[in-house]
């Protein structure tokens, strides 16, 4: 929305401009009625307050049909105007943009995963080239989430079992917040991602660099683990800098002694970390909820080994 101090529509995306224009239109009408009704309310309350000690006769007014018709008809017409304007922009927001690049968005508790047309997958960071229309094809792996870019005035719930869509047209380079707007569980408020809009040349350079990294192929287990951690969205729940998130931090996890909800204390060795990936809710660290999904089957044994190698590097 336009910030209350500057009533000017935002130009960062196609939709932001249009939505703000509707907002300002409604604000003008609402502002008029606000001043009218509150003004009369306060004016009458002061003007017709009872004078001290005087019992004044009040007129016997029971209604006035003409007036009542006026304040039914005029607001109705303005309401229809608001409806039509809101509807027009809404339809425009939902109309597919031509030549849109398609990006797959997968939501899961509590991570956003973005898959680009070239097959790369990145968690919690969406990079878009300036001026390029984009179609987001969104689905959830678990519960309902909400994909929300406040700066773009765009929001769409993301459902399990069916696709929902969002069309974006970035018009200014910059970094913007992406939030989960539909309550999805313990880590809901931390399910945030970043939208980075880059000018075309920088975007192309970034894509090329990423692809090169991928083709460089021979990664060390720790590097592979890092990539897995990022693409599987481990950072949504576990920090690597020591701050607690929904789950314990991974900084210095390897070899440390952790206290479990049972009161037991164990050393986080390779076996403990493997179990925590496959049967995460068997041995939960004290102070955390047993909410981590199991990766049994979805991670191969050598991938688990790579993740553990990566955790060893997080000193």
């Amino acid at each position: 929305m336009p910030y209350p101090t500057t009533l000017k529509a935002s130009e960062v995306s196609l939709a932001s401009h249009d939505v703000d224009a509707v907002f300002i239109f409604i604000l003008a009408i609402a502002g008029f009625f606000f001043v009218l009704t509150q003004g009369l309310l306060i004016y009458f309350a002061i003007r017709y307050r009872k004078k001290k000690g005087v019992e004044e006769a009040t007129p016997y007014i029971t209604g006035n049909h003409a007036l009542e018709v006026v304040w039914i008809v005029i607001p109705s017409l303005l309401l229809v105007a608001i409806f039509v304007y809101g509807l027009t922009v809404f339809i425009k927001m939902r109309t597919p943009l031509p030549n849109a690049a398609e990006i797959q968005v997968t939501a899961s508790q509590f991570t956003w995963s973005f898959k680009y047309p070239d097959g790369r997958s990145v968690a919690n960071e969406l990079r878009l080239p300036l001026g390029q229309p984009v179609k987001l094809i969104m689905i959830s792996r678990d519960v309902i989430h909400g994909f929300f870019i406040p700066a773009y005035r765009q929001k769409q719930d993301v459902l399990p079992g069916s696709y929902t869509y969002l069309w974006l047209l970035p018009k200014q380079a910059g970094t913007y917040d992406i939030y989960c707007s539909q309550y999805c569980g313990t880590g809901h408020s931390l399910m945030r991602a970043t939208l980075i809009v880059m000018p075309q040349p920088q975007y192309q350079a970034w894509v090329a660099a990423e692809l090169q990294k991928q083709q460089a192929g021979a990664q060390s287990p720790a590097e592979r683990g890092k990539a897995l951690f990022e693409s599987a969205g481990g950072g949504g729940c576990h920090s690597i800098d020591g701050s607690p998130k929904v789950g314990p931090t991974l900084k210095g996890i390897f070899g440390s002694r952790v206290t479990l909800t049972t009161g037991q204390s164990v050393v986080a060795d390779e076996e403990y970390l493997r179990e925590s990936l496959e049967e995460p809710n068997e041995q939960v660290v004290q102070g955390f909820q047993p909410i981590m999904p199991s990766f049994r089957g979805s991670l191969k044994q050598d991938e688990i080994a790579a993740l553990i190698a990566y955790m060893k590097t997080l000193k």
Partner: protein, 539 residues
């Protein structure tokens, strides 16, 4: 005023004469049942209010603080569920409605007194089950959206059963009121001589009877999904999560009118009495209650514009939504017009009634942004929405309830409260309310989502303002309740008609006798004949 000489008179305690547990628990007197509802619902208002204060306290800082995010989620769920199901839905209809419908229409009790007592006790049973689920606290939000609510380990099944019982109580009470209003009005009281509170309660009861079964069925389906694994809503089992939202809002939207219509009824009673003027546009206000009840059934989809519902459905629901605004706006104009050329006094009931109008205008106008499709996409599920519904529900319904409690306190208890304290409380409540909730409109415009245990640091300043506001609001409510409780014992004896009202409840004693009226009154006029008729101007 502590040593008021109220011992000199042999005090007539009316319906309150009998003492002891059985005289309350087994009573079939609508007034006593109403009083039990008042204590119960206000009790949960206090509990859920304390939870809200805890939530606000945590939100002083953006990051982790005070308690875990999971605890925050549990607390906002309990705050919402208790406020909605245990306080705001039953507070005016079941509490003040029970007490005053028979008094306002001039009869001795509701049509089915035994059913009325039964309604209260299944309400209590429902509460017991609901509170019992705290053993495994829920963290789904009061909206229980599937599939999260179908998967989470919390006691959703038990809670569904508790709310099912509470819903049943709601249906039976509504039915009781409809029959009472149809069949038991005093001789001479035609439909257009009914007080507007009765019209509002009639519309409310119709909504309760028609919409509550839907939520009951929904809770049963949800329980069946959790217990037997039948896939109604879970896509993994072949269900549709949006179906749940449709069912849920098919009840939960009409029910916001169960919350607001009775408060509008109270305002329609209070404003003419303190303005010494006839209500402006009686029939329009009466019919607008019915219109709101009817249209209210057709707009549930406006909670789902961004849910994945089709664009066409969104358009239709948006269109219908704007039509609820018409009768609502008309009521506001009529109340304001009632003040015109009045002789207005500002005792606490009137202050709360005027606050209702003031705050509800803000709540209503901000609803335009949510009803319009394009802007709703942005502000939906943000603090803008939180601010909007607190302006309508707390600024509206709760202010209406407070107006009613102050207005009818002398009648219910036979005592007067301390007006000076009541006014101080009002200042704190209204200013604290605005400081708490107005910043949330701006937070929402800036994109802060609701139900966020932790939030980006850029939103902190306004959150601090809101939290500080909540302390003033709480202080005001504490003073108000302390004033009531103190006045129950020590207040001066109330005259039968302290506000010079013309509705029937003021013609009997304060407190009323068990049979309400020693002799059933005969009604010869409408109840708003304030002002001098020979001065009636032609305009």
């Amino acid at each position: 005023m502590a040593d008021h000489p109220n011992t000199s008179l042999p005090e007539d305690r009316g319906y309150l004469s009998e003492h002891g547990f059985r005289s309350w628990a087994l009573t079939m007197d609508h007034k006593r049942i109403g009083v039990m509802y008042i204590w119960t619902t206000l009790g949960f208002f206090v509990v859920a209010g304390i939870l809200a204060l805890l939530l606000r306290l945590k939100l002083l800082v953006p990051g982790p603080a005070l308690f875990s995010d999971h605890t925050y989620n549990v607390l906002f769920t309990m705050h919402g569920a208790m406020m909605i199901f245990l306080f705001i839905i039953p507070a005016i209809p079941s509490a003040l409605g029970n007490f005053f419908i028979p008094l306002l229409i001039g009869c001795r009790d509701v049509a089915f007194p035994r059913l009325n007592l039964f309604s209260y006790w299944i309400f209590v049973a429902g509460i017991a089950v609901t509170v019992g689920t705290l053993a495994a606290p829920m963290d789904t939000g009061w909206t229980f959206y599937t599939p999260y609510s179908a998967q989470t380990s919390a006691a959703v099944t038990a809670l569904s059963f508790g709310l099912f019982l509470i819903g049943m109580s709601s249906i039976l009470t509504g039915l009781n009121f409809i029959v009472t209003i149809h069949t038991m009005r005093a001789p001479g009281m035609g439909w257009y001589r009914m007080p507007l509170f009765i019209w509002a309660m009639y519309a409310t009861s119709v909504i309760q009877v028609l919409s509550t079964p839907v939520i009951g069925i929904t809770f049963l389906l949800l329980a069946a999904e959790r217990v037997f694994g039948i896939g109604f809503f879970d896509p993994a089992k072949g269900g549709d999560p949006l179906l749940f939202q449709h069912f849920f809002w098919f009840y939960s939207h009409p029910v916001v009118y169960v919350m607001i219509l009775p408060a509008m009824g109270i305002v329609s009673e209070v404003v003419p009495v303190f303005a010494r003027k006839p209500i402006f546009g009686y029939k329009a206000i009466a019919y607008s209650a019915l219109a709101i009840a009817l249209i209210g059934f057709l707009v549930w989809g406006h909670h789902m514009f961004v849910s994945g519902m089709s664009t066409v459905a969104g358009v239709i629901f948006s269109f219908l939504t704007f039509f609820v605004a018409v009768p609502t706006g008309m009521k506001i104009f009529n109340w304001i017009a009632t003040l015109y050329k009045g002789s207005i006094t500002f005792e606490s009931p009137m202050l709360y009634a005027l606050s209702f109008i003031f705050l509800f205008i803000i709540g209503g106008l901000t609803g335009l942004f949510l009803g319009a499709l394009a802007t709703d996409v942005h502000v939906h599920d943000t603090y803008f929405l939180v601010a909007h519904f607190h302006y309508t529900m707390m600024g509206g319904t709760v202010m209406g309830l407070f107006a009613g409690l102050h207005y009818w306190f002398p009648k219910m208890t036979g005592r007067m409260f301390n007006e000076t304290w009541a006014k101080s409380a009002w200042w704190l409540v209204v200013s604290g309310f605005n400081v708490t909730f107005f910043p949330m409109f701006i937070l929402g415009m800036q994109g802060m989502p609701r139900r966020y245990a932790e939030y980006p640091a850029k939103y902190q300043a306004l959150n601090v303002v809101a939290t500080v506001g909540s302390w003033f609001l709480a202080l005001g409510v504490i003073i108000m309740f302390a004033n009531f409780i103190k006045s129950l014992r020590n207040g001066p004896l109330a005259p039968d008609n302290p506000w010079r009202g013309l509705t029937l409840e003021w013609q009997t004693t304060s407190p009323p006798p068990e049979e309400n009226f020693h002799e059933i009154p005969t009604v010869t006029d409408w109840p708003y004949g304030y002002g001098s008729r020979n001065e009636a101007p032609r305009e």
